[in-house]
């Protein structure tokens, strides 16, 4: 292994920690027959169904101590994009760069001497959603947490590792640490397991952690605790987070507290990106507006009123990622779709990379959208 226990980053330059440029990820669903014949033959015979376009031409930058929340529903590609960002998934096209170095190039050994594949691997980590499955049920907490240390800090001896693990457990509130270290995962509660999974990722001192729906499975009161913990750890160590969430209120909580950004995804594209405040208080893309409308208020009277509201969605069918709609993918559902929306797919409009942008022609006051006919018989309002 090429790194040691130091404070310095492996690479120190002005490039963003992670940058994804025009990344697309496609994958094939295999037919059953393909399972029993060699892959090359299956390909030649053209077996397999249409490829699923999980992610389509997405560009995103993540800086130092940054927080980006990917929010979307199932099929939006948010999980695939997250996994591609940390190298668990190869992009079909486009490039993923770690501090300016294309990760695939590094893996091929092209930057030997400056950056190695192991360094990149270590810098990008994941915390899974399901804390039950994230910990090996057959091993004690201590042995699972010792693993990253043994792998990456060979200078640490038995006592050092013990001490480091105990301290980290205490820092995250899993106490008494000595007691918990010898336990097996089934003896821990959901929240404790999630904390251990977080520690395991943190012990490597990575530059970026993908937090894949890490609070979705937890009780409401625990969610806030865990999100606060992640933010505290960020202050302590300075890692960046890429959160994936399907819940707008959770996304807003963490993006707001961390001064980060929210990126709204729909069918493989980022349709809006901005700060928490901008996305919640001034959503520009109709999909974001509909998401906000769909987030139920807590107040019972307000909630009762909105439940019976007519849905602003023009179509209740979930679109098929294998066969995305033409032009702007949201047009079948969008209450404000016009003719041009069925032909052209908008890019993010509205400013510089770090500003509030939306992939909707309505952002451009001079666009031919305004001359084009509505396809749903007139624009509808989205009650907010």
């Amino acid at each position: 292994m090429s790194t040691t226990d130091t404070d310095e980053d492996v690479i120190d330059n002005d490039e963003p920690v992670l940058s994804m440029e025009n990344v697309s990820v496609e994958y094939q669903d295999e037919s059953i027959l393909a399972d029993v014949i060699p892959e090359s033959v299956a390909e030649r015979l053209g077996m397999g169904e249409d490829p699923v376009h999980a992610v389509d031409d997405v560009s995103l930058e993540i800086g130092e101590e940054d927080v980006v929340v990917l929010i979307g529903e199932s099929g939006s590609g948010k999980t695939t994009l997250g996994r591609t960002a940390i190298g668990l998934q190869d992009p079909t096209s486009g490039s993923v760069k770690y501090r300016g170095y294309d990760i695939e190039d590094v893996e091929r050994g092209e930057h030997a001497g400056e950056l190695y594949a192991e360094d990149v691997r270590r810098a990008l980590q994941i915390v899974h959603q399901d804390s039950d499955a994230a910990l090996n049920p057959y091993r004690t907490i201590r042995s699972q947490l010792a693993e990253p240390l043994k792998l990456w800090y060979p200078d640490m001896d038995l006592n050092d590792r013990q001490e480091r693990i105990a301290t980290m457990l205490r820092t995250t509130g899993v106490t008494p640490a000595e007691d918990y270290m010898e336990r097996y995962p089934h003896e821990l509660s959901g929240g404790e397991k999630q904390r251990v999974a977080i520690i395991r990722a943190m012990l490597l001192e990575p530059d970026l952690i993908l937090a894949d729906e890490v609070v979705s499975a937890l009780d409401v009161s625990l969610r806030i605790e865990i999100m606060d913990l992640l933010l505290d750890l960020q202050e302590m160590f300075g890692t960046s987070y890429l959160f994936v969430s399907h819940n707008l209120t959770n996304a807003r909580y963490i993006a707001d507290k961390a001064d980060g950004r929210i990126a709204v995804m729909y069918l493989g594209r980022i349709v809006e990106v901005g700060s928490a405040e901008e996305i919640i208080n001034d959503p520009k893309h109709p999909y974001t507006q509909i998401l906000k409308w769909a987030s139920l208020p807590l107040d019972p009277d307000e909630a009762r009123e909105t439940i019976t509201d007519e849905s602003p969605m023009m179509s209740e069918d979930a679109p098929d990622p294998r066969n995305p709609p033409s032009g702007c993918r949201f047009h079948p559902t969008c209450p404000k779709a016009h003719e041009v929306c069925t032909e052209v797919d908008p890019d993010l409009i509205g400013g510089e990379v770090r500003e509030h942008r939306a992939a909707c022609f309505r952002e451009d006051s001079t666009h031919e959208y305004w001359d084009s006919e509505s396809i749903h018989g007139g624009d509808r309002e989205i009650p907010l």
Binding site: V220, R223, I224, P297, R304
Partner: protein
């Protein structure tokens, strides 16, 4: 805008009880000791109302739902009484039913749509088969039953011709959930229990389902019990709200009262810890402490270890669920203090 009233807007005399639960307790013998997963619950469910039950995981809500159908699995032991009052017939003591009678009760009178819509259907059989089997298991007229099923599915925005012939993996999560609800309604039960109907669903789908369920509630003459850990889901939907903590109810009353004027510290803490777009992020707080252990039952009030206003009395005596205000029961010795010391803000207009 809806014209319906909250069921509790109707005068008290009009409300009659359809289910009466008295001292329901469920225990399990474990190697560590005896686990009490439901602790002496008393509750009345009124005919035609929509009752919500909220609580965190492990609070006993799903167990409570199981007891209503006498569906507590071995080796759990259910004690207490659960009386069902069918319209125009003699009351039935559910815990004393056996065999065929229990089967008849379940699904024909009281139906349950459980958590985990994902694996409720047999993956090797089309949806249609599930309906047909349910109908024949209860000796119901198959043709009339399937017609009913189709009509219910349409009410739930499902295309019966499409859905009935598909297999469960061909349906989306939202479609599966709705198909399950249709299955629960096909025998026209008096009571329908929905256990976490929106968990694991996407945001937009959650919204759709709630609206559809709301329509069902309006059109069908049915009593609904909705169990959820997600407060916003139930807040606009249910007439009365019960809050469960540590295997018992700590508060019960009209939704507005419980949420705005909650009298139990846990209820108020729950309101404050639920992230909501209307609240500022700094106004959201967590609940300190850990979830209760069914084996080591705390003496006194089970919430006292985590309660900011608990005093010595709370660690010795366990408060009962008693009427505190009109139609508003709470299990706490200091409900007024709870209101004073723990502010709750549910929306931007709230200035309490």
């Amino acid at each position: 805008m809806s014209e319906s009233e909250f069921a509790t807007d109707r005068p008290q005399e009009e409300r009659d009880t359809i289910l009466e639960v008295r001292d329901a307790t469920v225990t399990y013998e474990m190697s560590r000791g005896q686990a009490r997963v439901l602790n002496g619950v008393d509750l009345d469910v009124y005919r035609g109302e929509t009752l919500g039950i909220v609580g965190e995981s492990g609070s006993g809500k799903s167990m409570f739902a199981s007891t209503l159908m006498d569906a507590v699995e071995e080796p759990g032991l259910l004690q207490g009484s659960i009386t069902y009052y069918p319209e125009g017939a003699d009351p039935v003591e559910i815990t004393e039913l056996e065999g065929g009678d229990t089967r008849r009760l379940r699904w024909e009178e009281i139906a349950l749509v459980s958590q985990g819509a994902m694996s409720a259907f047999n993956p090797t059989k089309p949806i249609r088969t599930h309906f047909e089997e349910t109908l024949s298991a209860h000796n119901a007229d198959k043709d009339a039953g399937m017609d009913r099923a189709r009509s219910i599915m349409r009410d739930l925005n499902l295309d019966p011709e499409n859905i009935l012939d598909q297999y469960q993996h061909e349906l989306s999560g939202g479609q599966r959930q709705r198909a399950l609800v249709a299955l629960g309604l096909v025998l026209e039960p008096e009571v329908l229990i929905l256990d976490e109907p929106t968990a694991a669903l996407d945001l937009l789908m959650q919204r759709s389902i709630l609206r559809l369920l709301y329509n069902i509630k309006e059109e069908y003459d049915i009593t609904l019990i909705v169990i959820s850990h997600d407060l916003p889901v139930v807040s606009g939907f249910v007439d009365r709200l019960g809050v469960m903590y540590a295997f018992e109810f700590v508060e019960l009353g009209e939704t507005r009262d419980v949420m705005h004027e909650g009298a139990h510290p846990y209820t108020r803490a729950l309101m404050r810890s639920t992230p909501n777009l209307a609240m500022g992020v700094d106004e959201i707080t967590t609940i300190e402490g850990s979830t209760p252990d069914p084996i080591n039952i705390v003496s006194g009030c089970s919430y006292s270890p985590r309660c900011p206003i608990a005093d010595d009395r709370c660690t010795i005596e366990d408060p009962d669920l008693i009427e505190f205000e009109d139609d508003h029961d709470v299990a706490c010795f200091y409900p007024d203090e709870a209101r004073d010391e723990l502010p709750v803000k549910l929306s931007q207009e709230d200035s309490k």
